[in-house]
């Protein structure tokens, strides 16, 4: 155990914190008030993950035994109950608890799994089967706005990215050969749509808490497009250019908004693309190592300076 009591007393003595704040901080530090909020959050995330994984396996393996209609109905009812709990709270004008947030997330994930299952079993959309993903994205986005849920917005964006064929597995970035140009282009298109959504959301002004989520998705999708292009010889220059532009934008935006995340994105993605490009374009191993070393030192200095600027510290 450790204690910050002495330091808090000094802050109180120097009148940096008033007596009531001092009492609160002291209670938090010595554990006389103790929150298990994060333990609950982790437990709820794991619970939702377990249930959704279990449902996914049922959908995959028990089709013949249980029958598609029964499965679709059962999961649909479970999803509806989850949504009903959230909607009831909203109608009553009560705020959702952390458990309510995760029950709603569970409902959204069950709905996603159910829609995919219904489409694959009954072929309702026929040749246009892949449209179930943008449909899902619209449904989840509408629910996110209606119920004011960042988690649902994230589910909607994942469905949208899925429709564009953007993989969520990092290893796909490094072990994907062929089709990189098309995949990169789709990731960039998706980033563009999310950016447009972000601008519209900002203009609407009612849900500023969603801007941050949309920002993260848009810039990451853009960077993924750049990194995908860096994989193939014919698109490497486009990849470097895309990453360079997005890095400059990310760092500038991060500095303007004093947001460390965008600066880190800009610097880290730039460093990765430089490493890939150096390994691909330079034949001499020694020269490659030197280029990577100097680039990494350069971007580290850039990150240090921008970090200091954001925090208002001396460089």
């Amino acid at each position: 155990m450790h204690s910050l009591q002495l330091e808090l007393k000094k802050l109180n003595a120097d009148r940096v914190v008033d007596d009531s704040t001092f009492a609160q901080l002291r209670a938090l530090d010595n554990g006389s008030v103790f929150s298990v909020f994060y333990e609950l959050r982790v437990a709820l995330y794991i619970a939702v993950m377990l249930v959704v994984t279990g449902v996914g396996i049922i959908l995959k393996e028990n089709l013949d035994r249980i029958g598609p209609i029964t499965i679709a109905l059962a999961i649909g009812v479970a999803a509806a109950i989850c949504y009903y709990i959230a909607i009831r709270k909203k109608v009553k004008g009560e705020s959702r608890s952390i458990v309510g947030d995760y029950v709603l997330l569970l409902g959204a994930l069950l709905l996603s799994a159910d829609m995919a299952f219904i489409e694959s079993s009954f072929h309702l959309l026929k040749d246009r089967w892949s449209l179930y993903l943008p449909l899902l994205a619209v449904v989840h986005a509408a629910a996110a706005y209606f119920l004011d849920s960042r988690l649902l917005l994230s589910v909607a964006l994942a469905a949208l990215a899925g429709w564009f064929g953007v993989s969520r597995h990092i290893d796909d970035l490094f072990y994907m050969y062929g089709e990189t140009w098309t995949r990169g282009l789709r990731a960039l298109e998706c980033a563009g749509i999310v950016l447009g959504w972000r601008i519209a959301n900002n203009k609407m002004g009612k849900f500023p808490q969603f801007n941050e989520v949309l920002d993260h998705y848009a810039i990451n999708l853009g960077f993924w497009a750049g990194l995908l292009w860096c994989q193939a010889d014919r698109s490497i220059l486009w990849g470097i250019l895309t990453v360079a532009i997005l890095s400059a934008f990310g760092i500038r935006n991060g500095l303007a908004k004093r947001n460390e995340w965008f600066v880190v994105y800009g610097v880290v993605y730039a460093a990765i693309s430089i490493c890939i490009a150096a390994a691909k374009l330079i034949d001499d191993a020694m020269l490659t190592a030197f280029v990577i070393l100097f680039s990494v030192v350069g971007v580290s200095i850039l990150l240090w300076r921008t970090h200091a600027q954001i925090k208002g510290e001396k460089v």
Binding site: G31, V51, T53, H123, S130, L151, G165, R186, H216
Partner: protein, 369 residues
């Protein structure tokens, strides 16, 4: 004033500034920190990654220049660079210097343990000690825990050679290694009751309390991976089941009594191990077990949240401190990862689409590779 690392009191001020960032620009805090500089979690990760790439590049340059035998030279260069960086910039937990120092220690350890010839157990032990020492030097709990975990690997190699004259794994060796891991965890749990001047020492113990029992469980099932069966009375099977169970119970009691998070997270991890070990007991298929355990967790969390909404003996389910933006981002990214939005699932059962559009994915995709 030392430039080697912050004094205990300076470290406490750094922690206070990180925990309650509203006060970090106060004169008392600045004075307490005495010029030591640190960065947030995300920037630290970025600097660590960049530091690792730089360490690999330096090692590659030395290896090419001196045709092999690069470890000692590269290690010394990285060590001098990192120490200079710390002393000149007064860096603490900034990422880059951590990557350079751990790389340097590991390279030097490898160089020293492979002078004549390399023996697996000695090299592993050397690397484990190097990682642990780097952790102690930098007051980094991740590295000290990694060191303790790597020592378990070294013990496994050493016991295998000493008892069975083979470096291959064996269930009896695994048992002793597992006992070592649980032992470290229990010692850390007991020591956690002490009042430490440095918050980092407390964190080192916290990490050991959480990670080592799970490492111990992993070692114990290394050779016996069938899970627990009723009717079989093998002592090893009971050991595998009961160790995480007893440890979890102890952790819950300690966590609530001391009002600390680490034992509670450790208990959650150990309960997951117990649940995994009991997987054969009911004969239920995997999917139903997942749903059952998930539902049990959901219900238990709901009850806990409701019961603790109003603090009971000071314990509450309400969020009391600032939003944790790293956890928020991890939550959103995690949500995206578990969202069933993979077109391949649907594509597996669909007839190939013949109409126009892309060939791989996106609108109008055929699902063909």
């Amino acid at each position: 004033m030392s430039n080697f690392r912050p004094a205990a009191v300076q470290e406490r001020w750094l922690l206070l500034a990180a925990r309650w960032s509203a006060y970090k620009s106060a004169e008392s805090v600045k004075e307490g920190i005495s010029g030591w500089r640190t960065v947030g979690f995300l920037t630290r990760c970025a600097f660590f990654l960049l530091g690792m790439i730089a360490a690999i590049a330096v090692s590659a340059i030395i290896a090419i220049a001196f045709r092999g035998h690069f470890e000692l030279g590269a290690g010394v260069i990285l060590l001098v660079t990192a120490e200079t960086l710390i002393a000149s910039r007064r860096l603490f937990s900034a990422g880059a210097e951590e990557a350079l120092i751990v790389s340097a220690y590991v390279l030097i350890a490898v160089a020293l343990t492979t002078i004549d010839h390399s023996v697996d157990s000695i090299v592993t032990f050397g690397v484990a000690v190097a990682i642990g020492l780097a952790g102690i030097r930098l007051l980094n709990p991740l590295l000290t825990t990694l060191g303790a975990m790597t020592i378990s690997l070294a013990i496994s190699f050493s016991l295998g050679l000493a008892i069975f004259h083979s470096s291959s794994m064996n269930s009896r060796v695994d048992l002793w290694v597992s006992i070592y891991c649980y032992g470290v965890a229990v010692v850390a749990l007991v020591l956690g009751a002490r009042q430490f001047q440095r918050p980092s020492h407390d964190r080192m113990l916290d990490w050991l309390v959480i990670i080592m029992p799970m490492t111990g469980y992993a070692w114990s099932i290394n050779d016996i991976s069938n899970g627990f069966y009723l009717g079989e009375h093998m002592p090893m099977q009971w050991y595998i089941l009961l160790m995480p169970l007893f440890y979890a119970i102890a952790c819950v009691a300690v966590g609530i009594r001391r009002r600390t998070h680490a034992p509670l997270f450790a208990a959650m991890g150990c309960i997951a191990c117990v649940a995994y070990d009991l997987r054969n007991l009911t004969g239920m298929p995997l999917q139903w077990r997942l749903i059952l355990w998930g539902s049990v967790m959901l219900v238990a969390s709901t009850i806990a949240e409701r019961l603790l909404r109003k603090p009971r003996r000071g314990i509450t389910s309400q969020q009391l401190e600032d939003r944790n933006i790293v956890l928020d981002a991890a939550e959103l990214a995690g949500t995206a990862l578990i969202t069933p939005a993979d077109k391949q699932v649907a594509a597996d059962t669909q007839p190939a689409m013949e109409g126009g559009g892309g060939s791989f994915s996106g609108g109008g995709a055929s699902g063909k590779y």
